[in-house]
Symmetry: C2
Subunit: 420 residues, 2 copies
């Protein structure tokens, strides 16, 4: 349910319907600010709202981006008047051929590769930037190994902000280029991602005008993932799917998709029909899946070893909330091998013409496994979230695919190569 | 103006408002068919229409893809009920920071990197596929060196069609992978692009159920580019821009953008205000720019030598029509060096957070040159077409950009590297 707002907290910032930050553990509330941990219990803070009357027709008449849902996000009403990358409203594709391959009667793919830097990170960064502007920050920053780096550097460039993006110096050259091109302060750190992450927390404390999107403005940033739920429901004709499969890295996205669906029901924008949320992980980094299968609430950290690097968070901050969500909704968490991930990428490409990054392969392969093990209902309306683009993880498929044949330049050779 | 349809020709196929194919040279008309050259004079054939009453509100209530304009395209009314990649309705970004850098008061960027395979080719291929289906074809095919290969392979996969994609065997591995992943018949040909193109024409003649999108169904395919014009006008609030800069490869896109603007005026969907169309080429493949500057109607073929490979057509089929269009509208054709292309890519990324392929660099750099030489009016509303994605041409920038610094994992080192 929507968190209730204490009368004591007032909105000192213009962040639309957002009214306070509320601790997910102890419920303690503080006024809107650049805080991410509860001062009472160190639990994670989440945005609490007082929504006005939100109508379908106002949303439908709004911008063709996530800002059509601005009255459900911690952003000012005039958010679209500030320069931003205008992400969202990506395709929801009815995936009959993939559905037939998986044995799911009615299947949709939410294809977030159409975003400005080709991943869902454009959504969360756009919300973080909008909130950071109101909170008085001047620099947009993050630690990242890929998609987030792209999204932060691009959003800052578009807005005319400085950016500071920290990456491990060992990062693949393609990911460095796709961030460096935006000309922000891209800093390569001699260390692994954990080192980079620690450094970000330290720098956030030292530089009060630096908004590290996934650190000190994380409560606002995370809310951007709700827009995936809003769009799925609107694109289905204002109804909730019966099942949704979401990749799990920190776990934030899965919990926010659930939050988005619940809000739509509470606000009367959709009928509050039951839905089941499923989490997808790569076996080489599956702490949440492991905990789910063990029937425990405790997510034990792991050392990631998987090609699905955008999901390779060994100590997922929202892991316990993922477990809560899937258990409450009757879903599950499942994991798949790197071999299955590659097959998932290829299956999606072959059947629907969508080339996903490794995280998308995890989602497709997990859906397949969930059907085969009887966990996913083949007769329920089902949505798969494809959150990033295959162009960024070409290495995953590079050794598996290529031309069917190499031929001399004559028609007979082509015909023969095709077995015609 | 819209080509008048002879009473003799009747629509044997369900292709919406399309009524005939009309020769652009002699005006001879034939019934709708899979033909591309005039039987009388060998001139190129173009689709002629009889449009019904098309209203803004019907378009606005339509699909969030190019199919909102289905009543202006050679496709059946129920086109969106067949599986397709649903391209279009990409961002039109108000580009104030780029505008300031170029000295253009009101500038917009049409960002077609958001399409399903990240180039405008998804538009033309979607229209080609829809028409090919009606014309009785069973296989989708093309010769290509990149963007078109991606788009054809993806669209065929989504539709459940076989595809045959011919590429030069020397193509970069990344472009091979981004086509091969869709699992069609990708054939590498030992030869250059001219060899591959000739082979396509030969195969199109031999295999009557193969639709080579840019050969035997080219008249339909080419119409897809009109949707760029429709979207620009709708996204500007149903009005035409004063100026538009379009990259020139075969020249087809530029002429179709002009055709789209004219149709909107003729149908009363916008006021038929004057607009000027500008063409952009790389100096290393600038046959149309050369002819424009020489004041001639004759486009002499060149051997391409430029990093802008998606524009590297040395003998552009629609070159003379580009000259007609820019001269009629008061525009121009200009060209820029590869060095300027890279600077154009970087300028667009730095100011607007949009990472374009080399063709986009050509467009931005050409716009800059057109302003500097007084050819582009800095006070007129101006649109730049960005038709493909930088992720596909990383090599163009690989040697120029990178991290600002490589530092050890401590905060002081970061602060020092940033000069703070």
């Amino acid at each position: 349910m929507t968190t209730t707002v204490d009368a004591r907290t007032t909105a000192a910032f213009n962040l639309g319907p957002a009214r306070a930050l509320s601790c997910r553990e102890c419920g303690h509330q503080i006024p809107l600010a650049a805080e991410f941990a509860c001062s009472e219990c160190f639990g994670p803070l989440e945005v609490a709202y007082e929504f006005g009357h939100v109508r379908r027709e106002d949303i439908e008449a709004g911008p063709k981006s996530i800002w059509r849902y601005r009255n459900l996000l911690p952003v000012p009403t005039d958010v679209q008047s500030y320069p931003n990358t205008e992400p969202g409203l990506t395709r929801l594709v009815k995936a009959d051929r993939l559905g037939a391959a998986l044995g799911v009667r009615n299947l949709w793919v939410k294809d977030d590769t159409g975003n400005p830097t080709h991943s869902f990170k454009d959504r969360v960064v756009a919300v973080a930037l909008a909130a950071a502007r109101q909170l008085g920050f001047k620099v947009l920053a993050c630690p990242s190994t890929g998609n987030l780096a792209n999204a932060v550097a691009a959003a800052a460039a578009r807005a005319g902000w400085e950016s500071v993006v920290l990456i491990p110096s060992s990062l693949e050259k393609a990911k460095i280029l796709t961030t460096a091109v935006y000309d922000g302060a891209l800093i390569a750190v001699d260390g692994n991602y954990d080192d980079v992450n620690r450094l970000a927390t330290q720098l956030a404390a030292e530089h009060e005008d630096w908004a590290f999107v996934n650190v000190n403005v994380r409560p606002y940033y995370a809310e951007g993932s709700k827009t995936l739920a809003y769009e799925v429901a609107e694109q289905l004709g204002w109804r909730l799917p019966g099942q949704i499969v979401v990749p799990v890295a920190s776990g934030s996205q899965l919990t926010k998709v659930d939050k988005g669906f619940r809000e739509l029901g509470e606000l009367g924008l959709v009928d509050a029909t039951p839905y089941r949320v499923f989490g997808a992980q790569a076996t080489g980094c599956s702490p949440v899946s492991t905990a789910y299968k063990a029937g425990t609430d405790v997510v034990s950290p792991v050392r990631p070893d998987t090609i699905a690097r955008s999901l390779a968070i060994g100590a997922p901050a929202d892991g316990p909330y993922v477990l809560d969500t899937v258990r409450r909704t009757g879903g599950a968490v499942e994991d798949v091998t790197d071999e299955e991930v590659v097959e998932g990428i290829r299956l999606l490409a072959r059947t629907e013409g969508i080339f996903a990054e490794t995280a998308g392969g995890v989602t497709v392969a997990t859906a397949k496994k969930l059907v085969e093990t009887g966990q996913l209902d083949p007769d329920a309306d089902t949505v798969l979230l494809i959150t990033g683009d295959g162009l960024k993880t070409l290495d995953a498929v590079a050794d598996r695919i290529g031309p069917k044949a190499v031929v001399p330049p004559n028609a007979a050779a082509v015909t023969e190569a095709l077995g015609l």
